[in-house]
Symmetry: C2
Subunit: 130 residues, 2 copies
DNA sequence: ATTGACTTTCCAGTAACTGGAAAGTTTAGT
DNA sequence: ACTAAACTTTCCAGTTACTGGAAAGTCAAT
């Protein structure tokens, strides 16, 4: 299977698949003509990475997870440790976004959104009442 | 006031202040020796940008907001439109992160995290039950 | 005069792709 | 057989918003 087909199967753009090979994440053997060849194993790996990326894991975390997946001497504790660390990051980001959201909603409600130049959003950004 | 003092006042790293000048966001006049000079006006602008960035506005959105702030012919509707668009993005991102979080928590709970190689996290990433 | 703390510019690197150019390959149609 | 479309290859550049570091100039104090 060539890269285009693999792209369809995995939902990843061909560009991204090539990129993953460039950085040594998922390697594919070549045909005689130089075209990359994707068999079941490579498709599995690409799917694995795609799912991990969808969960927000970084490419480097994906690399570690793929490594553990391939290792016979792994422990589920190692995998869980990676996940926990990532989950912490997600939680931090969530709190950050929630705080932003609250401020933004308040500003949105305070602003009339009319033709008048008077704007509490700009006022707040300019540091009023600070 | 030199850049170091301005950095302390605004909480922005000096590097970042120089960067903002590079991209034409907040310009500062120079002393005879070439050092940047920060007066009240520049400090206001930097503070404005810092607050907008903390609310998650992109640098380009900051540019637009600064422009509106400086304009006498603005309407609060224009400002609010930028905010709304940004808020939409924040909301999308929040939902995305919340979905990730839920999946991650489920996987965390399913994984024993012991010395055994058997791991439902890897199983799920590998596409089991799909 | 020399140290230390500033400051300047410029170049490179970060994360994870994405777009586009130029060139080679394969396939379908005539 | 010829050609045009559809793939594929590599390589280079651009994206976002900085951040780190090097080499060099400046300033204040000893």
């Amino acid at each position: 299977m060539n890269i285009g087909q693999a792209a369809k199967q995995t939902g990843l753009p061909a560009k991204t698949i090539r990129y993953y090979e460039d950085i040594g994440l998922v390697k594919a053997p070549r045909h005689d003509n130089g075209y990359r060849y994707y068999a079941e194993h490579q498709l599995q790996q690409l799917g694995f990475v795609a799912r991990a990326r969808n969960l927000g894991f970084s490419v480097d975390e994906c690399r570690s997870l793929l490594g553990l997946h391939a290792s016979t001497s792994r422990s589920s504790a190692e995998v869980k440790a990676i996940l926990k660390k990532h989950l912490d990051k997600v939680d931090r980001k969530l709190r950050e976004l929630q705080a932003m959201r609250e401020s933004l909603v308040k500003l949105e409600q305070a602003c009339p959104g009319d033709q008048d130049p008077d704007c509490p959003i700009l006022g707040s950004l300019a540091g009023s009442k600070e």
